[in-house]
Symmetry: C2
Subunit: 410 residues, 2 copies
């Protein structure tokens, strides 16, 4: 099945928003094994929508449109599809009742253009809108299919996940399941090498997505039913976990390395404190970004100047003089100082040159020392990150969480 996406909306051509709808649908279609060859964006102009729709239908089996389903004069996707297929627009009783109920609750009669949202090309399959007023629909005609989704991203996403994904799977006679594994500390090319033989299979399929410091692996299976799909995923997942071991830090689309650290600490009833120099508060800010963080995090210190490292954390002046602040020794004393003054079970420190400059002593930019102090002692690691200031700081914070995670698992 070959698909195209046709997005209708002058706001896209004016650059007021990015076409995240097309990105979302593209990902999901790829996972469903549906070939997607083109995105097109046109404005709210009847002639240009009609032309683009006709062209897309000449190339693809299914065209998914986004936008143009609302109550204003600019909303003309359904009319254009109806005209293209020579179908009349007909009211859907359920949709009409829902729109009238909504208007009654707002204490006014439903306006004619509100009611317009309940008219669909005759014979369409209606897709109710769980998050907004304009329903979507699917029209099958002349051997082609047009699925119409609303433009607001949260409405589109809910309608796709709740209704259109299943429709598409039914159409291809399959059920789809996916599993996301989150991998930290292995670069993408290295990961590709380690999993190379697993990429040769189309179903279940394996895809990698990069993020700073981590890679996400998605395993997707298509099968006649959900249990069969999950059964196809399980051995691949087990094999990936066997090969990557502790580098797999979590699961799911919404995980994060700090979220995993939070869960490990919470489950043990332990707390962490940070002593940050080059990350400048990022470790604390990211952990506090996890709802419920207060159960594992009480306080943290950003000691950017040498004097603050000494006064706040108790780093020895001799250490700073002999080794400088960007040293394994300083990182160790920072972490141990933070653990001591906070009374936390664990402490993580960072000290390094994030850029634009390296050290006056020739230490290159990107050099970062990270220490983890815990009940069984302190461990320090030295990193040489490549990239701009923000990237080095982000990676240093992520590695701080990862080293703590590994210490918690040890």
């Amino acid at each position: 099945m070959i698909a195209e996406i046709l997005s209708v909306g002058t706001e896209l051509l004016m650059g007021q928003i990015a076409n995240t709808d097309a990105q979302y649908l593209s990902r999901r279609l790829s996972e469903l094994g549906i070939a997607l060859y083109r995105h097109t964006v046109v404005g709210d102009n009847p002639a240009r929508v009609k032309q683009a729709l006709g062209e897309a239908l000449s190339r693809a089996d299914i065209v998914i449109t986004t936008g143009g389903l609302g109550p204003t004069e600019d909303d003309l996707t359904k009319q254009t599809v109806a005209e293209t297929f020579g179908l009349p627009l007909a009211p859907d009783a359920k949709s009409l009742a829902a729109i009238e109920a909504l208007a009654r609750r707002a204490g006014r009669p439903a306006a004619e253009n509100d009611r317009q949202q309940a008219y669909f090309p005759e014979g369409a399959l209606i897709l109710p809108n769980a998050c907004g007023t304009a329903p979507g629909c699917v029209v099958e005609a002349q051997g082609k299919t047009v699925a119409m989704l609303p433009g607001p991203p949260h409405e589109l996403k809910a309608m796709f996940e709740g209704q259109l994904a299943a429709y598409l799977a039914r159409r291809s006679g399959t059920h789809i399941e996916s599993r996301f594994l989150r991998v930290f500390g292995i670069a993408e090319p290295d990961l590709e090498n380690r999993l190379r033989d697993l990429f040769h299979c189309d179903n279940p399929s394996l895809a990698l997505y990069c993020a700073p410091g981590e890679v996400q692996a998605r395993i997707t299976a298509l099968a006649p039913d959900g249990a069969a799909a999950l059964g196809m995923i399980a051995p691949i997942e087990a094999e990936i976990r066997r090969r990557l071991g502790e580098a797999v830090y979590g699961e799911g689309m919404d995980g994060s390395i700090e979220g995993t650290v939070f869960e490990l600490l919470r489950d043990r009833g332990e707390a962490v404190s940070f002593a940050e120099s080059c990350t400048g508060g990022l470790l604390a800010a990211r952990l506090v970004g996890v709802p419920g963080a207060s159960s594992v995090f009480k306080e943290s210190h950003v000691t950017y100047a040498d004097a603050a490292k000494a006064r706040v954390l108790g780093v020895r002046v001799e250490t700073l003089e002999k080794y400088t602040a960007v040293s394994s020794q300083c990182a160790r004393e920072m972490a141990e100082g933070a653990r001591r003054i906070s009374g936390a079970d664990w402490a993580v420190s960072t000290t390094g040159y994030a850029g634009p400059d390296g050290g006056a002593d020739g230490t290159p930019v990107g050099t970062v020392f990270i220490a983890v102090a815990g009940p069984n002692g302190t461990r320090v690691e030295e990193f040489h990150f490549q990239g701009q200031r923000e990237f080095v700081r982000t990676l240093a914070a992520s590695w701080g969480f990862n080293l703590l995670r590994l210490a918690l698992l040890a």
Copy 2:
């Protein structure tokens, strides 16, 4: 002049990235007064790129392509444009020398596919790449124009701003100048109302862009030469500054409220410290994100637990018991404590409920107190932010910087 955007990249059709290049170009074309009727995205497939390019050229005067200029086999935009116009690919000596110099610095000879980046359709105007290896180019042939830009957004942006915008203005016989004013603390609808009469003009034109907590106003003028364009911008800029006063915190596309605070502190030779609860390190992390931050920032404390507020910052236990930690009184003592222990000239504190829950005493989620302590005393403000946890924390940090900025200006 009618334009279309043609984006080439399988990563767009796979949904790995959103088409932010198209959004950026759309905005800028709209500001340049160039009509844009369509975006098209195709994958790295020669036949489909060629078909889409031919269609776009049949409708538009100028097609701007993004992507497909790099060194890999998949990069085929220039080849496709050359074929379409029946032009040979010819090497550009300067680009070739730059690519060979880069390879020498990396200690290897330039590979054949690196050199490919220095070949362009014969007669093309070369657009050097300030941020990457692959230059862009502009081809004028058969009464049409194709401008080819690289896919990576920062490369595309720099090439458009530094070179293509001026080319497009020249083509339309005009010179373009823009000025960005950064506005903090006025919501977009309110700002629209205050500037309503200034939107009625097409040249110079005024456009607003929203970001969390701030709005950016861009004034754009088209004129026969730069001086005339700047002369048209000046009175509008003066009028906006007159109406908005200190709400205009900066200028330029790359400014930030923390960048402005950094400059104010640096120019005065003063330093700031933070005492963060709900922002959890964001204030420190954002200030440290500004290169050179060490001259104005020495240390900072994240006191998430009540006990840490008392022990680290000296907040009185009676204050915490009587008013709770989310109170004007606590914010004041946090800021004054941070100023005292750090010895900094200024201190900013935050304490509030970022969500998902509000206070056990019924204080609603989104309530945040921010205090600024300085040489002339302490000022506290209460906020009620609407939104998710991350958004509330981001806004609280931004307002922390803004209150400090206003105190520095007072």
